[in-house]
């Protein structure tokens, strides 16, 4: 089976004018198999965000190779990357990033619009995704009529609507209170466990990372630890 993410000796250097270059990633190796639930942790400046952007096909590495679901990033143009993002990736952001004054179902349909999915099929898949996050009856609500936790669940519905090969969640609980955070993390666990969805979660909160099954820690642009998460007794 093809690995979802296969990163070899990845490095990213941001050149700075008139000063020293900033090295964000220095020789990262990582493989994520289908069905995994990986938490990426690290302090700010550790390179975890840069790593996520490259994995999310929003940025390119300075050196090293990245194969996403068998596609070699180096051989793909900007439009190919955009098409891959619309078909094979799902994004969840800290700030939800839902379109304002747009209904939940229209927000969920958005990635399928760019993938060129016909309207009827979009509607059906969007309703199903909203149902999967428990918000089917909020389909016609606009973001400002929903709580933070509900908005993030709409964003999760949006991320899964294309049946992506990888869901990337960037600090998805960063803007939520404890109860909503638990809800959202439970949702990720359920999507991973019941639907076999591959999830990569970037966070700096150990509590949140504990919901994953594998924990990768970054420091100074390198992976310093990569280990399975011990099953918590309270679960």
């Amino acid at each position: 089976m093809t690995s979802v993410v296969e990163v070899r000796d990845l490095s990213k250097i941001y050149p700075l004018e008139g000063g020293e270059d900033v090295v964000a990633l220095r020789g990262v190796d990582l493989t994520i198999e289908p069905g995994e639930f990986v938490a990426v942790m690290g302090p700010s400046g550790s390179g975890k965000s840069t790593f996520m952007h490259i994995v999310g096909l929003l940025d390119r590495p300075t050196a090293g190779t990245y194969r996403f679901a068998g596609h070699d990033l180096g051989s793909l143009g900007a439009d190919d990357l955009a098409d891959l993002r619309s078909r094979a990736l799902g994004f969840v952001f800290q700030a939800y990033n839902l379109l304002p004054r747009t209904t939940a179902i229209e927000n969920v349909e958005l990635p399928m619009i760019y993938a060129g999915v016909p309207a009827a099929e979009r509607r059906r898949a969007a309703l199903e995704a909203l149902d999967a996050v428990g918000l089917a009856k909020y389909a016609q609500h606009q973001p400002n009529q929903l709580s933070g936790g509900q908005q993030q669940r709409v964003a999760i519905a949006r991320s899964i609507v294309n049946q992506p090969q990888l869901i990337l969640a960037d600090e998805p609980t960063g803007a939520l209170d404890t109860a909503s955070s638990e809800d959202v993390m439970a949702l990720f666990r359920r999507l991973n466990a019941e639907r076999g969805m591959t999830v990569m979660l970037v966070t700096h909160e150990p509590d949140v990372a504990a919901h994953a099954r594998r924990l990768v820690s970054f420091r100074d642009g390198r992976i310093v630890s990569d280990e399975p998460v011990r099953e918590k007794a309270l679960v």
């Binding site: 999310g56 891959l84 993002r85 990736l89 990033n97 747009t102 958005l110 760019y114 993938a115």
Partner: protein, 405 residues
């Protein structure tokens, strides 16, 4: 890949989300296009009415008017000299290519009849007047050559005079006093309306020119000669023959200036329509400037919109929008704004033109080509001024865009 209709839908959704801003942005184009439409309508109406009125003066008409004279250094304007005579007219009538000639002796005077009085112009003309001016008699008859030779006291009234003196009743057989000379009304003229210069042509009393000279002005000089060329092709040759003949008759030789002027109505018509065209062009230029300003307004708002929607753009890119899709969406937004504004402007302009037609009695007509051009131009404005903001949007780095506060 996202289809065009889908992009159009996204663009429309984005515009509807900012309804009031979209409408305000359109306003510049709306006003610009409405101004263009009204301007063109008025200009076209002016041209049509000038052409109509010139034709109404009589086809193939050549006017001979006295020139300017100089008396101890002071020069009168054209028409100030009293050098044209009835004999000049008779000589011109014999020229080849001339079908009819009528002198015109104008007397500004009060006319009295039926216990009413009215200030009008009594004009002495020949029986050929009806042919020369292509002006028909509405009731009664026109005076004859015999009556002209006898300097008969007969008059034909214009409709305005009929209205003022006889309250619209039949004046034939009644008597009107012109400068205390009683004239018998023998006919009325058909209504002719306003002249190109805005004068009421129906405000006139026609009498034989002989009567005017002998009984009223007491001179021999005439105000002007109206000459009708046999056909339109001969107008130029008739004109030059008249000039030659009158120079000979008035003994004008060498470098001396003519004491008369020969004008053909075609020239006057062309001058008038050229004036109308220049006026139209000027107004169109002003309208084009307002469209340009409207376009800059659209660019301004689109730039603001791109900055304001940076996160949205970042999100769309992250969700799989190609750069081209973003560019197209913002370009379509700009074009929808400008074309929508253009369409609203056309509606407003047509309504404005109709209002002008009704309120100012001006024959304002909106040519279809103006509507099509206005719409095409406003769409072009949208493409031109929308392209830069759209490119800015498409070139955004999604990572930075998503972090943008």
């Amino acid at each position: 890949m996202i289809s065009f209709t889908q992009t159009l839908r996204l663009a429309l959704q984005a515009l509807i989300r900012n309804r009031s801003r979209s409408l305000l942005t359109m306003l510049g184009i709306v006003i610009g296009v409405a101004a263009v439409i009204v301007t063109v309508a008025i200009g076209t109406g002016a041209k049509t009415s000038v052409a109509d009125q010139i034709n109404g003066l009589g086809s193939n008409l050549v006017m001979v008017i006295p020139g300017s004279v100089q008396t101890s250094g002071a020069r009168t304007g054209n028409g100030g000299a009293s050098t044209l005579t009835v004999q000049d007219g008779l000589a011109i009538a014999k020229l080849p290519g001339v079908s009819a000639v009528s002198p015109s002796v104008n007397v500004r005077t009060q006319v009295i009849a039926n216990g009413q009085n009215w200030q009008t112009t009594a004009t002495g003309v020949a029986p050929t007047f009806t042919t020369v001016r292509s002006w028909d008699v509405a009731g009664g008859r026109f005076f004859t050559q015999t009556e002209t030779d006898e300097a008969a006291k007969v008059a034909v009234l214009g409709q305005t005079v009929v209205k003022q003196l006889f309250a619209g009743g039949d004046p034939v057989g009644q008597t009107v006093m012109v400068k205390n000379v009683p004239f018998t009304v023998i006919g009325t003229l058909a209504a002719k309306g306003q002249s190109g210069a805005g004068q009421d042509q129906d405000d006139t009393v026609l009498i034989p020119y002989t009567s005017a000279l002998e009984r009223i002005t007491g001179g021999t000089s005439i105000g002007s000669l109206m000459v009708s060329a046999a056909d339109a092709q001969h107008i130029d040759s008739v004109q030059s023959q008249i000039t030659g003949l009158l120079e000979q008759r008035h003994a004008i030789t060498g470098g001396r200036a003519d004491d008369f002027q020969v004008r053909n109505l075609q020239d006057i018509a062309q001058a008038a329509s050229a004036t109308a065209s220049i006026l139209g062009l000027l107004l169109a230029a002003v309208a084009a400037v307002s469209l340009l300003v409207g376009g800059i307004g659209i660019m301004n708002i689109m730039l603001v919109s791109v900055t304001e929607r940076t996160r949205e753009i970042g999100l769309r890119v992250a969700l799989g929008a190609r750069a081209a899709a973003i560019l197209r969406q913002f370009l379509i937004e700009a074009v929808v704004l400008s074309t929508g504004g253009g369409a609203l402007g056309v509606v407003l302009g047509v309504a404005g033109a109709a209002a002008v037609a009704v309120l100012a009695h001006w024959p304002a007509t909106v040519p279809l080509v103006a509507v099509v051009l206005a719409l095409a131009f406003s769409a072009a404005v949208g493409v031109f001024f929308g392209y830069w903001p759209a490119r800015k949007a498409a070139a955004l780095d999604p990572i930075r865009a998503l972090r943008f506060e």
